[in-house]
């Protein structure tokens, strides 16, 4: 009680002092207005009073720092080794890499484009990003800086050029490229007893599958759990879409969610689209336990390297791993074949990936000049060879590099080169749609598969359900 009275006295005493001051005369609404006003003034100041960009330096600075943005991953990160070497040779150029997860990197690129920040001087740019980044004014054409660019381009496979060139300008000189293929166990597929047993059961010769029906038959034939499974479906949504359903599956049936982009219509729920979903659902029966949560990096690659899969559909990149005795039980037992298609005629190989260093259009003139000098150095054969021997850039974009005996002995790329040259039928240009709307139906594609596997829908119902969702996404995008 005593304590309470004391507090009251303090209140009254302070109140009297306050009465004399102006503070006590301010009403509550005025205070609120003041607070909001301060906030608004602070915001407007921050918005409009941005520091002015520094004027361009008349002479090249003594030290140049090239800021590099890349997604975390083997291909972009291997550039860090090249940076170190370049800085040793050119002490006036340093690199400041920002290696960040894919989604964060994408956000940073978008910030650069929308806010013209100029934070980065160089990017590791995937083929599918190159032309939209060029359209958005994020990257400069390399021919602005590299005079004899055609001498580089002539060493590249033709199909790469449509992803890096526009309106007569070249925006990227990729250091590697990549595509999908079917890895298979040659020791199983070439075994005479297996061949005989297969023919007896299915009535035709055993071979790496070229049609969906053959895919199902061979997967069923080689499924001998728990030591061997015929195939492994990627259950994790993004891997399923990019490896089996959206990119390779639909294309190999001549289908595309962008077939009638103008009218926001998709053509994935016709006969071939339904058959594709049926095939993939059937293949889940011949996939190892846990496939529902699997993706390339954490599941399928390891299982194939351990010798637990007869077939594995993926990008080329794990090939060097499969040839490494320290990491693989299937060294010398791996062949490569085409993506199975709705029919033998194909198309059998579709998606193309790859990447290289591009120059920001927003950074300072001297930085861009220094970046171009670095790219020219990077593309020298000896440096390309060194990168190829890391095993992380498969296949080197400069085809001359593959003829080097060391590179050839290390990468053993011949099966892929032959496959592409003889069977690679459709390389389509990666597009902005790949980045944008496909992210909005990746999970739904996996759900369509799950609905069939769980018996909740037929393949036709699942295809219709997915098509309805895709068309909604397209309509709302327009």
């Amino acid at each position: 009680m005593k304590s309470y009275i004391n507090h009251s006295n303090i209140f009254i005493s302070r109140g009297r002092d306050m009465k004399k001051s102006t503070m006590g005369m301010i009403s509550t609404p005025i205070l609120i207005v003041l607070i909001v006003g301060v906030a608004v003034v602070a915001f407007v100041s921050a918005w409009y009073l941005k520091p002015a960009p520094p004027p361009p330096a008349p002479e090249r600075p003594k030290e140049i720092v090239l800021t590099y943005l890349c997604e975390a991953g083997p291909e972009p990160e291997v550039m860090l080794k090249a940076f170190d070497k370049y800085s040793d040779l050119h002490p006036d150029v340093r690199f400041d890499p920002d290696v960040t997860p894919r989604d964060i990197a994408r956000m940073k690129v978008m910030s650069e484009i929308t806010e013209k920040r100029g934070t980065y001087d160089i990017y590791f740019t995937w083929l599918q990003d190159t032309l939209w980044m060029a359209d958005a004014g994020a990257i400069d054409p390399l021919d602005k800086y590299i005079q004899n660019i055609s001498s580089y381009l002539e060493k590249y496979p033709d199909f790469l050029l449509t992803s890096i060139q526009k309106d007569g300008h070249t925006y990227s000189l990729p250091v590697y490229w990549n595509s999908l293929c079917m890895f298979y166990r040659t020791d199983l597929f070439e075994d005479s007893a297996e061949k005989a047993a297969f023919k007896a059961k299915y009535g035709y010769d055993l071979r790496p599958p070229e049609t969906w029906q053959e895919w199902i038959d061979t997967a069923e034939f080689f499924t001998r759990p728990p030591d061997l499974y015929g195939y492994c479906i990627n259950g994790k949504a993004w891997a399923f879409y990019w490896d089996e359903y959206g990119v390779s599956g639909l294309q190999s049936a001549g289908l595309s969610p962008f077939a009638d982009f103008e009218n926001n219509r998709v053509n994935i729920n016709g006969t071939a689209g339904v058959e594709l979903l049926e095939t993939l659902a059937e293949l889940t029966k011949y996939s190892p336990p846990g496939w529902e949560a699997g993706d390339w990096f954490t599941f399928g690659d390891q299982l194939f390297a351990e010798g637990k899969l007869a077939m594995w559909h993926n990008w080329y990149y794990p090939w060097p791993t499969f040839q490494n005795p320290e990491k693989s039980n299937v060294v010398g037992k791996v062949g490569v074949s085409v993506t199975p298609s709705v029919s033998e005629e194909g198309p059998h190989m579709g998606q193309l990936s790859g990447g290289g260093i591009t120059i920001s259009a927003i950074s300072s003139e001297w930085d861009r000049q220094a970046a171009a000098e670095f790219i020219i150095w990077l593309l020298k054969p000896e440096n390309q060879k060194e990168l190829a021997l890391t095993g992380e850039l498969f296949i080197p974009a400069n085809l001359d590099i593959l003829e080097d005996p060391d590179v050839n002995a290390f990468l053993k790329p011949q099966p892929f080169i032959e496959l592409v040259q003889t069977r690679g039928q459709t390389f389509f240009r990666p597009s902005v749609e790949l980045n944008e709307v496909q992210n909005l139906w990746v999970s739904e594609s996996a759900e369509a598969l799950m609905k069939i596997v769980r018996g909740e829908m037929t393949a036709k119902e699942a295809a219709d359900w997915l098509a309805t969702h895709m068309e909604k996404v397209l309509r709302e995008r327009a």
């Binding site: 009251s8 209140f11 009254i12 302070r14 109140g15 009297r16 306050m18 009465k19 503070m23 006590g24 301010i26 009403s27 509550t28 205070l31 003041l34 607070i35 909001v36 301060v38 906030a39 602070a42 915001f43 989604d103 994408r106 956000m107 978008m110 484009i113 929308t114 939209w132 259950g235 994790k236 949504a237 993004w238 336990p289 846990g290 496939w291 529902e292 949560a293 699997g294 954490t298 599941f299 390891q302 902005v432 980045n435 944008e436 709307v437 992210n439 909005l440 999970s443 739904e444 996996a446 759900e447 369509a448 598969l449 799950m450 609905k451 769980r454 969702h469 909604k472 709302e476 995008r477």
Partner: protein, 298 residues
């Protein structure tokens, strides 16, 4: 007369307090109110950054679209299930552990208490990685353990029904310390004379819990539960992103993951903002519950 003067002085003092807090309040307005209003504003536009940086006013189209979208209700159901299940599990286990910890005296209470707190300070991504190491079908420790002991494995993250429970379990491991901390503080603050009185009356431990501890802690229960429910509903992202990415299929698709996909993978900012408005409205209802409960019990 004296009372009136005291009231007037108190009001003036209150205004002074507000004035002194004005810089901090202005910062709050800037950092919280502005983004919320901007989000509302954006929800009336179509802005797809991959296509264009120009936005188009489309009125309530984004709202209509979401309300007609079965995926919205699926994500909402999953998020609600996650919030309810994780809060319930954390509440029950947290209470039991807090009661046990309160019986431990001396330095061991400090050591055990500190050890139990560690998960709460880990980032969501680490939480997800730990979850993967425990529950992954290929490298998961839990299945390795159950297989070696009982010869069985469980589809922790591969089954439609079990996957969300796995997310709940991982989140419970991380956020359990929140309840333990609050409950322990409340138990320790129960007047000792009341405990002694119950002891003298011959009350058993269970009776003490039933007739003393639980009634005494009811306000704490209510406030902690609502606070944690708000957190669980609005922040279930990292653990789902790392462990299941919303799968298998859409089995663990949650509202924050969908907002992330729309805003920062597809860069459809208008749609993402509208999803954000719905998440905000639900959070507001939970905050209103929190304020009601706080006023009712304190």
């Amino acid at each position: 007369m004296h009372k009136a003067r005291a009231r007037s002085a108190g009001r003036r003092l209150e205004k002074t307090g507000i004035l002194l807090a004005a810089p901090a309040l202005a910062l709050l307005v800037l950092l919280f109110a502005y983004p919320i209003f901007f989000n509302f504003y954006m929800s009336f536009f179509r802005l797809n950054l991959y296509v264009s940086t120009e936005k188009t006013f489309i009125g309530f189209d984004n709202y209509v679209s979401i309300l007609q979208d079965s995926l919205f209700y699926g994500a909402l159901m999953n998020t609600t299930f996650f919030a309810l299940a994780s809060v319930a599990l954390e509440f029950i286990i947290g209470l039991v552990l807090a009661l046990l910890l309160s019986k431990i005296k001396g330095i061991w209470m400090g050591i055990l208490g500190a050890a139990l707190m560690i998960p709460m300070f880990l980032s969501e991504i680490i939480e997800g990685v730990v979850g993967q190491l425990l529950f992954s079908p290929r490298i998961g420790l839990i299945n390795a353990f159950t297989k070696s002991l009982f010869g069985v494995e469980f589809p922790w993250i591969t089954s439609k029904t079990l996957a969300m429970w796995t997310i709940v379990i991982v989140d419970t491991w991380k956020m359990l310390p929140f309840f333990i901390l609050i409950f322990l503080a409340a138990i320790v603050s129960i007047p000792k004379d009341m405990e002694e009185a119950m002891n003298l009356d011959g009350a058993s431990t269970l009776q003490q819990v039933r007739y003393l501890i639980i009634p005494y802690m009811l306000p704490v229960f209510a406030i902690a539960t609502v606070m944690r429910a708000i957190d669980a509903f609005t922040k279930v992202f990292g653990v789902v992103y790392v462990i299941t990415f919303g799968g298998p299929g859409l089995a663990t698709d949650v509202v924050p993951l969908r907002i992330f996909n729309l805003a920062l993978r597809a860069f459809h900012w208008g749609s993402a903002a509208t999803w954000g408005v719905f998440a905000f409205l639900i959070s507001t209802i939970l905050v209103a519950m929190y304020i009601f409960v706080k006023r009712r019990w304190t």
